[in-house]
């Protein structure tokens, strides 16, 4: 008879790994005593160096953190220099991929009266597009919850309208109180996200993330998805609904 802990762990592992198979892209072993070939691995992985992404403005790494640079070919809100050695940009780092990004795309931000700011940021590389949610530079000890894809679809682009939530928290080292937040992405052309629950309605901007994100519109709001069922609508520039979901 299987002991109960073994049974429970196996059951949970089965649920966590439901439907998982090896990603289909090619994986090539490196030849011995021969020319080194690039190892190509599929699926989500942390990003490599974001030196100068396609279509983006070249930004000197020495640019002060927090200074935003705009480019018509980049995200609507521009790019910011990634902080170094502060726990933020390193979430996009991978030893396998080869480095930490030097700049981050600013995809959406939460309006709040705080010394630090919650924001949805992205990092682009040759083969990966990553987005993460956390404290915007230059705050230290920031945390990012992140997701990477090969860019097609971009992160949080596999569904029409995506909403993810974080609960209220206190950043322990700096003692910064962080509000609950909701964030995600909407179809291209969405300009406004409306969140509604029990008669309470807020609207926030959705921002075009640019060509490397397939022009998905990313958004973030001070809203607690854990507070009860929320209806989320994406509206275009004319105020027409283009997508709807419920969380």
């Amino acid at each position: 008879m299987t002991d109960p802990i073994t049974a429970l762990l196996n059951r949970t592992a089965d649920q966590l790994a439901a439907g998982v198979t090896a990603p289909p892209a090619a994986v090539q072993p490196r030849p011995h005593r021969s020319t080194v070939r690039r190892v190509l691995l599929p699926a989500a992985a942390a990003a490599a160096v974001v030196a100068v992404a396609v279509g983006a403005v070249a930004v000197a790494p020495s640019r002060p953190a927090g200074t935003t640079v705009y480019s018509a070919a980049g995200p609507e809100l521009g790019t910011v220099a990634a902080p170094r050695n502060q726990g933020g940009a390193e979430i996009f780092d991978s030893a396998a991929a080869g480095g930490t990004p030097t700049e981050l795309d600013l995809l959406a931000r939460v309006d709040q009266d705080q010394a630090a700011e919650l924001a949805l940021v992205g990092a682009r590389t040759a083969g990966q597009v990553c987005v993460g949610f956390g404290l915007l530079p230059p705050a230290v000890n920031q945390g990012f919850d992140r997701l990477c894809t090969d860019g097609d679809p971009p992160p949080w682009g596999e569904q029409s309208l995506v909403a993810v939530g974080t609960g209220p928290a206190t950043e322990e080292i700096n003692g910064i109180d962080l509000p609950a937040a909701a964030y995600g992405s909407a179809p291209p052309g969405a300009r406004t996200i409306e969140l509604a629950r029990d008669g309470e309605v807020i609207r926030v901007d959705a921002r075009d993330a640019g060509p490397d994100y397939k022009h998905r519109a990313y958004w973030a709001a001070a809203w607690d998805l854990g507070g009860g069922p929320t209806t989320i609508r994406a509206l275009n520039a004319d105020g027409e609904e283009v997508a709807r979901t419920r969380r």
Binding site: L9, P29, C148, L178
Partner: protein, 163 residues
């Protein structure tokens, strides 16, 4: 270079490793990243790894040990921003599995490693000690402690650890 051999190995070993890492880290994203890294290392050294008695064990050892670094990093991040149960991962955990994950997360990561390797893969404490480069006595103590904590959290009878 036996590309086909590696490809077959990769496809057969990936799901099992993913399962272990998902339970260990608690997220499919982290499990995928760790798999990515470990299989990447195997690909780089395939001419050597393919000759081992247990190539899958080699990849698992790389990933499980690498998970320690990831755990430290995640701990720092999650102090700042915690993800609620509502997320994008396709895995839908039922209430019991959420309890199991909460109980696992309450264990020190080193204990969690031991518990997962023992219960999911039926590795003995000696095998785990070798895999994690820890003294066998340490692993045994970590397994006993981890099992006791899990049993208490999950309200199941704590049995003697298999060694």
């Amino acid at each position: 270079v036996a590309v086909d051999d590696f490809d077959a190995f990769y496809r057969s070993a990936y799901p099992g490793l993913f399962r272990v890492l998902a339970l260990l880290t608690g997220t499919r994203e982290d499990a995928a990243d760790l798999c990515q890294e470990a299989f990447g290392k195997a690909a780089e050294s395939w001419y050597r790894v393919q000759g081992l008695d247990d190539p899958a064990g080699w990849v698992r050892r790389v990933a499980v040990n690498r998970a320690v670094d990831l755990s430290r990093r995640r701990g720092r991040q999650r102090r700042a921003v915690r993800r609620l149960a509502a997320d994008l991962e396709p895995a839908q955990l039922d209430g019991l599995s959420v309890e199991v994950m909460d109980a696992l997360r309450s264990l020190p990561f080193t204990e969690r490693q031991v518990v997962v390797l023992h219960h999911l893969l039926s590795l003995t404490t000696s095998e785990i000690a070798q895999e994690l480069s820890r003294p066998s006595g340490t692993v045994k103590a970590q397994l006993v402690r981890g099992r006791a904590r899990l049993a208490q959290a999950l309200r199941v009878p704590a049995e003697e650890a298999r060694t």
